[in-house]
Point group: C2
Chain length 342, copies 2
DNA sequence: TTGTATGCGTTATCAA
DNA sequence: TTGATAACGCATACAA
């Protein structure tokens, strides 16, 4: 077990001081070119690697970004993540990925950890809860920049990068209406979430715009969980049996709701048309064709990184940066469609 | 922007030294209970959090595990990952997730990063390449424990946690043979990979066992990429047109090969039966029913963590630990099957 | 152009 | 039982 080589080791070999080595390696201009060259050479030979822990202890800059992800099973999230770590790498940052699985307790632990290792910024899609608002504020007050993605953090004004949900919901619902559907349900998410409100509002907008009346009972609140959406959908279908389309809050909900529809021996899309937000590959498990809102998650990731890096490197007034909206598009995912684009 | 609270701050408030505070917080038994209590109280009030960078600078133990993942789009990998971070958390470790996207360059960067932040161990499913063997050895020689998962690292004897691929391939192929298929192709992965050999051998075993002759041309080497498998499958089908089943190396290959089959207007499973390793939700995008090998990825993650933590905490002889084999099972994934188990 | 001294936040080893 | 001091690996004023 060879000890890691440090500045000191290089210094000893060259009979100079660690300070000289440190400066030479970072190409400070008060070190001769010759010295720089020899230092770098022996550093290379010895396989020196800077200890970034020690470094960031002094610098207060770690070049680290924390990424807080709700669930790795939802392709929307993993695609955003991909955008984040690729763009971060391009900008000289390393992205540290953490998953909370929609659990505020987990989220708390992850946030504390990221704060503990002094990341420069945190990109977060927060779990539905207000348990961690204080923590987020504290972290922010320590100078760690925070940017939300996909989900606005209610009550705090961190910038958020997301799709235009109201418009997307309008377009998605309109598309379904154009297919001749008239009794459309909306399932998913509690009212307290901004995202849900936006989508519901877009859903309502479309009804108004096309002159279709809307029964309040068709808007079904529901947790973002498989079982919850399965049960809620089933209950709703048993109560109102002429529903001919369902717009779902997201991938998990769509999977649950779709399962319930199939369970009741209704066909998709013939009996009931399915729409969802996120273009999640999870939904393809149902083996049916459906409408979806592609929110360009990869792009969301990229923009989120650019935003936070701007915040970090301008150091100071990041409040100016406002929410950023990424264009969405409506797709019809045919069974068997063959692409590997997300 | 409030500075972070440090030991020194607490010490100042209580008129003691940082050393005392440090020991009190860690409940060293050379500090009075009373002192411990007051220190902890004010630490709580001030919102103190230890700086784990500084701590691990001294300890040489970071309680960090690095996880190197091939691709977030493959549910097998994300499920292993889930097993890893959940188990790590239980054992008091934090898992840092990194993705290499099957690119050895990326892998190198990630490994260097993990080494730079002094993780205690690295759990890796390496990209197919031998570019990073030297690096892995160096990292290992610095005392960082390494455990492979899913894929053995050729040429180095780090323990690996994986499914019994030969047996699984035997079972999968047997199942397909029992369905009456006789001209079965195997597509995917180059011979240089142990995993590929195991699966191919199991594939061959099954043919022998059931007395079915096997044409060498039916074993098609192919990269783990969508385009590659799509093209190879298409070429093969055009050359040999009575193939009635295809066993695919993994999810990406199955998706590519399946796409090629459908593209040629053959039906799955009627014309050609599809089998794959990994039970990847990606494959469900094809909208067809297929056989798969579920390798219990969640379990693989858990066992990998237990193995590496044992290595780390026994500090010393980890060589004793041998490869660990997780039971697999064959499943038939029906279109529209409704579960949320992976 | 190079070296010295000091500090980042923590812990460990002494001495008091 | 508590305090002083040095150290972890690195960076930065400042002195030489």
């Amino acid at each position: 077990m060879n000890k890691r080589v440090t500045l000191k080791d290089i210094a000893k070999v060259l009979n100079v001081t660690p300070a000289t080595v440190s400066k030479a390696l970072r190409e400070c201009d008060d070190i001769s070119k010759g010295m720089q060259k020899t230092v770098k050479e022996t550093a290379g030979e010895l396989g020196y690697r800077p200890n970034i822990l020690a470094r960031s202890l002094i610098n207060k800059k770690s070049k680290l970004l924390g990424v807080v992800i709700p669930d790795l099973r939802i392709s929307f999230f993993t695609e955003v993540t991909r955008g984040i770590y690729e763009e971060a790498s391009k900008l000289g940052y390393e992205a540290i990925l953490m998953v909370h699985d929609e659990n505020p307790e987990n989220e708390k632990k992850k946030l504390e950890f990221l704060s503990d290792i002094n990341v420069d910024g945190i990109l977060i899609a927060s779990a539905d809860s207000n348990e961690n608002l204080k923590l987020l504020e504290t972290i922010s007050s320590h100078g760690i920049k925070i940017v939300a993605w996909d989900r606005k953090i209610e009550g705090l004004d961190f910038p958020v990068v997301h799709g235009d949900d109201r418009k997307a919901a309008f377009n998605l619902t309109s598309e379904i209406i154009k297919q001749g559907r008239k009794k459309i349900a909306f399932i998913g998410a509690t009212k307290s979430i901004q995202l849900a409100n936006d989508r519901i509002n877009g859903f309502i907008d479309a009804h108004k715009h096309h002159g279709i009346s809307l029964n309040e009972n068709l808007i079904v609140p529901c947790e973002r969980k498989f079982e919850a959406s399965f049960n809620e959908m089933k209950k709703t279908l048993e109560k109102i049996n002429d529903i001919d389309a369902v717009v779902c809050f997201g991938g998990v909900v769509a999977y649950g709701a779709g399962s319930a529809i199939l369970e009741l021996d209704k066909s998709i899309p013939d009996d009931i048309m399915l729409g969802e937000f996120g273009d999640n590959s999870l939904v393809t498990r149902l083996g049916v064709s459906y409408y979806t809102v592609n929110q360009n998650p990869y792009r969301i990731g990229i923009e989120a990184v650019n935003l936070i890096v701007k915040c970090i490197e301008s150091d100071g007034e990041c409040q100016i940066e406002k929410d950023q909206i990424i264009e969405t598009k409506i797709l019809y995912r045919n069974v068997g469609a063959r692409t590997f684009d997300n």
